[in-house]
């Protein structure tokens, strides 16, 4: 769904120019529809959020977003999202590699499995995960003897995030791996490169931009996740409470401004991080001549 985002047309030059680069007509109309659609679907809700927050004044805003609770919850959210996306960057790449590079019985089935986290209602996923990882659950009971507990601990947040964000990495990386030219790897092999060197110097650079896109999407999805996490996290303030839970709490206490202020903070932080990842991705592509 998103791989195309990361591959702009090669002849598209940057800059402030109004110029259709497609031979197909209809630039004006499609551009206008794009603006209206983005305005209604994306900017509208964001504008309402900013509008609500603007009413509270700078000092009250800063006062709200710098409380220990908000900062700690933000840290918990960011940290968990980072762990989950990093883990999925590795395992997702592996899954994508295996699914595209090898033929094995049940490959189609495994391929379809990857999309399940997209389709499953997050609450269902949360209940299933927490049942599985609860101290007396199937998996949880195996960890208990080692003094480890996943459900109702910060680790539970990471597990839920890993579940819901896996498809983003796999589905972004998969088409790129499919397009990799096996000839290059074969040539390197014939020239005496080790397997590891081939992967790191030939395959990985080609995959890296897509992997970064997948990472960014997964990270963003993790930060925004609510439905499944509330079931497995335990939601203890300062311990296992994520920012969206805090926002809902503020709303339930009729503190709209507080809720939107925290929302704006979350939005700003996410935007900065995503921007950084996108810049990094552009840099990688340039460097490796993608």
């Amino acid at each position: 769904m998103s791989a195309s985002l990361s591959v702009p047309a090669p002849h598209l030059k940057r800059g402030f120019r109004w110029r259709p680069v497609s031979v197909l007509p209809g630039f004006g109309a499609s551009f206008a529809i794009t603006l209206v659609w983005l305005g209604i679907i994306v900017l509208g809700p964001l504008a309402v959020m900013l509008w609500f927050t603007a009413g509270m004044g700078w000092e009250a805003f800063l006062g709200t977003i710098t409380t220990p609770r908000v900062l700690m919850d933000l840290w918990i959210s960011l940290r968990s999202a980072l762990y989950a996306s990093l883990a999925n960057a590795f395992f997702g790449l592996l899954v994508a590699w295996v699914l595209t590079r090898y033929e094995f019985p049940g490959r189609r089935f495994a391929d379809a499995l990857v999309d399940l986290p997209f389709a499953l209602p997050t609450a269902v996923a949360g209940i299933a995960l927490s049942t599985l990882y609860a101290p007396d659950g199937w998996l949880g009971s195996l960890l208990t003897p080692f003094g480890l507990q996943i459900a109702f601990q910060p680790a539970g947040i990471v597990v839920a995030m890993m579940f819901i964000s896996l498809p983003f990495i796999v589905r972004t990386v998969q088409p790129v791996i499919e397009d990799l030219e096996a000839e290059q790897e074969e040539a390197a092999h014939l020239m005496g490169a080790s397997d590891l060197a081939i992967f790191i110097r030939i395959s990985l650079p080609a995959i890296l931009p897509a992997l970064l896109t997948g990472f960014a999407l997964a990270f963003a999805r993790c930060l925004g996740e609510y439905g499944s996490i509330i079931f497995i996290a335990g939601n203890r303030p300062m311990v296992s409470e994520i920012v969206p839970v805090l926002i809902v709490q503020e709303l339930d206490q009729f503190n709209y401004q507080g809720a939107t202020a925290i929302g704006v903070l979350m939005l700003a932080v996410s935007f900065l991080l995503l921007l950084t990842i996108n810049l990094l991705q552009a840099w990688v592509r340039k460097r490796h001549g993608g």
């Binding site: 709200t64 409380t67 220990p68 609770r69 927490s130 049942t131 609860a134 101290p135 007396d136 208990t144 003094g147 480890l148 507990q149 996943i150 109702f152 601990q153 910060p154 680790a155 509330i230 335990g234 939601n235 203890r236 303030p237 300062m238 311990v239 809902v248 709490q249 709303l251 339930d252 206490q253 009729f254 503190n255 507080g258």
Partner: protein, 351 residues
């Protein structure tokens, strides 16, 4: 006949009704425009009570007026339900967990400011209290609030920031600690230890009950007496026992007419009767049968063994909700102070 609406469905319904009203193409057909139709927006633990009451009331209304009413209801966390009504859920009556949530609707002008004096007993047709539910045989030997903060005891309780019932919990615990441990500072320490023993903070009383009874987590559930009785009834095999602490709180879940909405829907008559009839001997008996404490003398006598007399504080002892809410549950209040002190590692060490 009652039709169940989840909050989300109800919101969708209201959004659709709103659009329809705006375009004036729906005239006459939406259910909410009928004088014999009513939407009761309530909180989680009253689902069984109102399912039963709606049947009783439907018969009563049919006898009285000759028309069978259409009764809709919506259940959810008390605060979230109040917010939904503020944002446009077309409730004719609200029956919530605490007066503070109805006050919030009143502040937006949907309900008259003096709503609580319009019906008997502070507009509270039924009361409850906070008790402990423990597993069979009470293995951790929990007798009173002090036993809850022992190391190794796992408490299941909802989050007071989102659950009305959980706010009654905190106030009851506070009253006990302040009296028995000596003052506010000791009570705050007690609250810290209490929440340090809570492994799962669900967002509502219903979620906590499921965590304790279905998912088998924790040694003790702290919550509504009505919920405790319901859990025992549903398990049906002596799996749980109720423990009553030496001091608890009179939990008063009030009811109110949403003046602006009933005026718009033309449902003042049915909505008023719906609330007033809650105080009738028949309804009071039903209330007792559904594990809420009735006030009607006959029902009180009938269910006396089910509801032993307890030493109870009331919200008045805390200066009313308008004072207690910010003091305990507002940002930086006692609850935040209690939460701020507890911490744990990434992988909690299980005992």
């Amino acid at each position: 006949m009652a039709i169940s609406l989840s909050r989300r469905q109800a919101l969708k319904f209201s959004a659709a009704a709103g659009i329809a009203a705006g375009t004036a193409t729906f005239a006459g057909s939406p259910a909410f425009a009928d004088a014999n139709t009513l939407l009761n927006v309530s909180f989680d633990p009253t689902a069984q009570l109102y399912a039963a009451y709606d049947k009783l009331f439907a018969t009563h209304w049919a006898t009285k007026t000759g028309t069978t009413p259409t009764l809709h209801y919506s259940h959810g966390g008390s605060g979230a339900q109040a917010r939904a009504v503020i944002e446009g859920l077309p409730a004719d009556v609200v029956t919530l967990a605490l007066a503070y949530d109805i006050d919030a609707i009143a502040k937006k002008g949907l309900i008259a400011a003096d709503w609580q004096s319009r019906l008997p007993n502070n507009s509270t047709p039924y009361t409850s209290t906070i008790v402990f539910l423990v597993r069979k045989g009470n293995p951790k030997n929990i007798k009173d609030w002090g036993d809850l903060i022992q190391p190794g005891v796992q408490i299941v309780a909802p989050n007071p920031k989102t659950s009305g019932g959980a706010r009654w919990n905190v106030l009851a615990a506070w009253a006990w600690a302040e009296k028995n441990l000596g003052g506010q500072k000791a009570a705050l320490t007690y609250l810290q230890k209490f929440f340090a023993n809570v492994p799962v903070l669900d967002s509502g009383a219903h979620g906590s009950t499921l965590t304790f009874t279905q998912r088998k987590i924790g040694d003790v559930l702290v919550g509504w007496e009505s919920d405790a009785y319901l859990s025992i009834k549903e398990a049906g095999n002596g799996e749980f026992e109720i423990i009553r602490p030496s001091l608890s709180i009179l939990a008063e879940p009030p009811v109110a007419l949403v003046d602006k909405n009933v005026a718009a829907h033309g449902t003042t008559a049915i909505a008023t009767e719906y609330l007033t009839y809650l105080y009738s001997p028949e309804a009071q008996d039903l209330i007792g049968a559904n594990f809420y404490r009735p006030s009607d003398p006959a029902a009180v006598a009938k269910y006396a063994s089910q509801f032993p007399t307890l030493d109870l504080v009331t919200i008045k002892d805390f200066g009313g909700w308008q004072k207690a809410q910010p003091e305990f549950f507002g940002n930086g209040g006692y609850l935040d102070q209690a939460f701020g002190a507890s911490g744990s590692s990434f992988f909690g060490i299980s005992s």
